[in-house]
């Protein structure tokens, strides 16, 4: 009976030692090792495609004084979301109308219909009109008062094509009755002395009005005021 009891105790001790060895070692070694620290690792595990790698900031004419330059940050969140849904046309539009470069995809600069690749595109600094206030709620901003819209008129833009295996971007003329409206959310408060004063959020082609072929139709009701 005593032998049996001793054997059971021995087995239990062995079992427990084996089972909790990991914890035991961790407890004993952590006394002598520095605790691991959290480190921020820049970037993601997978590389971002070049066509989604917008410049982090872009130069524009100040909404408040056309004679002065300012800088806006470029939001990549919505573009990434669109890309995940395989919707690339709005991304191609931004490259064409705002950044002024063809979307950086293979063969874009050498494929026949695209050459010369940058001709006809516009950059943000070439905007010819600027409005403030979008007369609608935008997240926490009930009236969209802190949104400014830059109007651009690229003569050409890139279309996302999936049927041509040579190049996924094909340059085509912009219809005459369209302009590109780019929306920027101003920082609150908007400090004109800071390096950037707002973030570029989204844009799109809109029809021009019958009275002015350079301005969006209904611009008087669409926006609160014209800045320049």
């Amino acid at each position: 009976m005593v032998l049996l009891h001793g054997l059971r105790a021995h087995l239990q001790q062995d079992y427990l030692r084996g089972r909790f060895r990991g914890i035991y070692e961790r407890v004993t070694t952590t006394r002598f090792m520095a605790a691991p620290t959290l480190r921020v690792i820049q970037g993601s595990a997978k590389s971002c495609p070049t066509w989604l790698d917008f410049p982090s900031t872009l130069v524009a004419l100040s909404p408040f004084d056309k004679s002065k330059p300012c800088r806006f940050r470029v939001s990549r969140e919505d573009a990434s979301k669109a890309a995940r849904a395989r919707r690339l046309q709005p991304i191609w539009d931004i490259w064409s109308a705002v950044i002024g470069e063809p979307p950086p995809v293979p063969n874009v600069r050498i494929w026949g219909v695209n050459v010369p690749a940058e001709e006809g595109l516009t950059t943000l600094v070439e905007a010819h009109a600027c409005f403030r206030g979008v007369n609608r709620a935008l997240a926490e901003d009930d009236n969209g008062d802190n949104v400014v819209a830059y109007i651009l008129k690229p003569s050409h833009f890139y279309e996302h094509v999936t049927t041509n295996m040579v190049c996924a971007a094909s340059k085509r003329p912009t219809p005459q009755d369209l302009v590109y409206a780019l929306h920027v959310r101003l920082d609150i408060p908007c400090d004109l002395e800071s390096a950037t004063i707002g973030v570029i959020t989204h844009g799109g082609f809109v029809r021009v009005g019958s009275e002015d072929s350079l301005l969006p139709e209904d611009h008087a009701s669409r926006y609160t005021s014209r800045l320049w």
Partner: protein
């Protein structure tokens, strides 16, 4: 939706229509085709998206969506709400709210077109605004 975007992302992959909430723009977008398009503003809530070539509606945008959702939809939902938010219901709610105002015939037609697209495609939103 495949969530990966890498250098190797297939530039020639076909787009499958899906409703997406864009947080920076505070807009829900539902588009049938990934083609060059023109935005036709209907009012502060709805924009119809037209094919740039044919100028026929291929989708719509619901603007100021977070605000609209918090004020008009979230409170009316039950605890056992569905996982998805069907967009036809959202558009119908917008029409109901604007009901007292007189819809101009053109705007009414635009709302009907958006409603039809949402209904035909059974479009739904899976991801709601953050604060929702």
């Amino acid at each position: 939706m495949d969530d990966t975007i890498t250098v190797g992302t297939d530039l020639f992959a076909r787009y499958a229509p899906v409703a997406v909430y864009y947080e920076d723009a505070d807009t829900v977008e539902y588009i049938r085709q990934d083609v060059p398009s023109v935005n036709r503003r209907v009012d502060g809530f709805l924009t119809l998206v037209l094919d740039m070539t044919s100028r026929k509606p291929i989708g719509f945008r619901l603007k100021g969506f977070k605000n609209f959702y918090l004020h008009h939809i979230k409170n009316t939902e039950h605890e056992d709400r569905e996982e998805f938010l069907y967009l036809v219901g959202v558009i119908e709610k917008a029409i109901e709210i604007a009901g007292n105002k007189v819809f101009e015939p053109e705007a009414r037609e635009a709302y009907d077109q958006a409603c039809q697209i949402a209904k035909e495609d059974n479009a739904y939103l899976r991801e709601l605004p953050d604060a929702a």
